[in-house]
Amino acid sequence: MKQRKFLKTATPYLFIMPWIIGFLVFTIGPLILSLIMSFFDWPLTTAPTFRGLGNYIDMFTKDKQFWKSLIISLKYAAIFVPLNMIIALFLAMLITQPVKGVKVFRTIFYIPAVISGVAVSIIWGWILNGDYGVLNYLLSLLGIKGPKWLVDPAWALLAVIIASAFGVGTMMLIFYTDIKNIPVDVYEAASIDGAGPARKFFSITLPIITPTILFNLITSIISSFQQVTLVMLLTGGGPLKSTYFYGLFTYNNAFKHHKLGYASANAWVMFIIILLLTAVVFKSSSAWVFYETEAKNSGAKKTKKKKGGRK
């Protein structure tokens, strides 16, 4: 009898055991180790030596590249996040229009998002090539002399942004499913009251999807700070380190220069910046995010839950 009772209490823990083990071994263990390492001078081959806050002090006072990379990543996030969200929302509005064959377009718009960063970097590296790239050729037909996208420091960041925007489909789909769930009768009621399409968008659609905007805002801030693959392969951080993103800075410190302790400190600073930005966004959200609007109440009541991130 006792044994059976024990089994009953233990069962739920057995179910979640894989995650608990994985969490300890692959997440929290490395997380703690990383924090410890950030206080050490930790070369790959020789023994580590403790240096207290040395890594952090060096980073903020001596390493000019730290500030440069931080600013590049902030600049990228500041341009890319809003731009990507506006495009995603625009496309989501387009594919929710009641016209025939619109689902085919939904598929087409999403396809680039299922392709790897490697493939995207190859495709865009070739299209954006300053000498024979087809984009500059098309621009020349319009009488515009295209820049040398990937070799001109003034344009390289924009080139990275253009290539990243190719994967807008993921976010578009999230907006799409949310807009789709808005009951049609809300719009019909507005039409009877004489509201035009613009009025309907700003007074109905936009307020209802504010929780989704919050979700997308947070996940895209997180992912834009972690952007590595695309810059690594498209520009290699160049030219003249104009696209030396913070993620690349951290990666190279670790795996190219083998300064594991210093790179850990870099990563922790990034983590803290992400947490701070997320906290600020959450704090501000009470002013602009509307939960449980009337439109939602008319349908089945659903509890809202916001959390998460997609890689």
Binding site: F23, V99, F105, V118, I122, N266, M270, K311
Partner: protein, 273 residues
């Protein structure tokens, strides 16, 4: 909702223009893959090749051990997908269908791990796998997938929360134990959710570049993504093989997506609510 003919035309024009933006690079790439090297970098560029060089694909495939890379990619993709689907469904079932001490705190911890940037854990993970003797093997890419992933657990739990409580009561009266209930009753019901997680994982793993880059060294261990990227270093001037392999590499994800589209669209809807 009724729409005027005029606004319908405007919408089709917009849809068409965007579709061109998304499709043109692929179409242009597909045609260019059959060109000669000189023709591919000719200026002004032409859309169609003057001669169709089908052998480009064979030459590209032979230029590196791509057969091995493909096999490695398939191995990692399949094994991680099986691992994620099994482990995440177990964990999600645990969180969704039981009440136990510490459940809410543990679930909050699970959700908050999604905020941790990979940059923070990659260095210690590298050292950990080095300690295990796993560097330059496929294990670092496969094994962690058997211990669940926060986002996938979250998706599956959301799905399970929507199933009425009395569902398992009948089975329990029949004398089935919890594991049997999970396996025989819930796994079939969870099919849409399992497919969603499986497909998302397949796409992520097939496309992953940084993991293989850090953990693999020998070419015999390379995945397709890593092999493709290595073109950039080795043959920086050769465009044709790069385009050919890119095309080969993007076909499986596109096909999988088109087949499983329904699950992705529905699953996305469920994840936000």
């Amino acid at each position: 909702m009724k729409m005027s003919k005029k606004s319908k035309i405007v919408i089709y024009i917009l849809l068409g223009l965007v579709a061109i933006y998304f499709l043109a690079p692929f179409i242009y790439m597909l045609f260019s893959a059959f060109k000669t090297e000189g023709e591919a970098i000719a200026y002004p560029p032409k859309l169609l090749p003057s001669e169709w060089h089908f052998e480009n694909f064979i030459n590209a495939w032979k230029s590196q051990p791509f057969g091995t890379y493909l096999w490695n990619s398939i191995l990692v993709t399949v094994l991680t997908t099986v691992g994620q689907v099994l482990s995440c469904s177990l964990v999600a079932y645990g969180f969704a269908r039981f009440n136990f001490k510490g459940k809410n705190i543990l679930f909050m911890i699970l959700l908050s791990t999604m905020m941790i940037p990979w940059d923070v854990t990659m260095i210690p993970q590298y050292m950990e796998f080095n300690l295990f003797g796993w560097i330059n093997t496929l294990k670092p890419l496969i094994v962690p997938a058997w211990f669940g992933s926060a986002y996938y657990v979250f998706l599956m739990r959301q799905f399970l929360m929507g199933i009425p409580k009395d569902f398992e009561e009948a089975a329990r009266i029949d004398g089935a134990n919890q594991f049997q209930i999970y396996w025989k009753i819930f796994m079939p019901i969870m099919k849409p959710s399992l497919i969603l997680v499986g497909v998302l994982n397949m796409l992520t793993v097939w496309n992953d570049y940084l993991g293989p880059l850090i953990f693999l060294q020998d070419r015999s261990k390379y995945t397709l993504a890593l092999g493709l990227a290595s073109f950039k270093g080795v043959h920086s001037t050769q465009i044709i093989p790069m385009l050919c392999i890119t095309i080969i590499m993007i076909i499986p994800p596109i096909i999988i997506f088109i087949i499983a589209q329904k699950y992705i669209v529905e699953g996305t809807s469920g994840s936000i609510k």
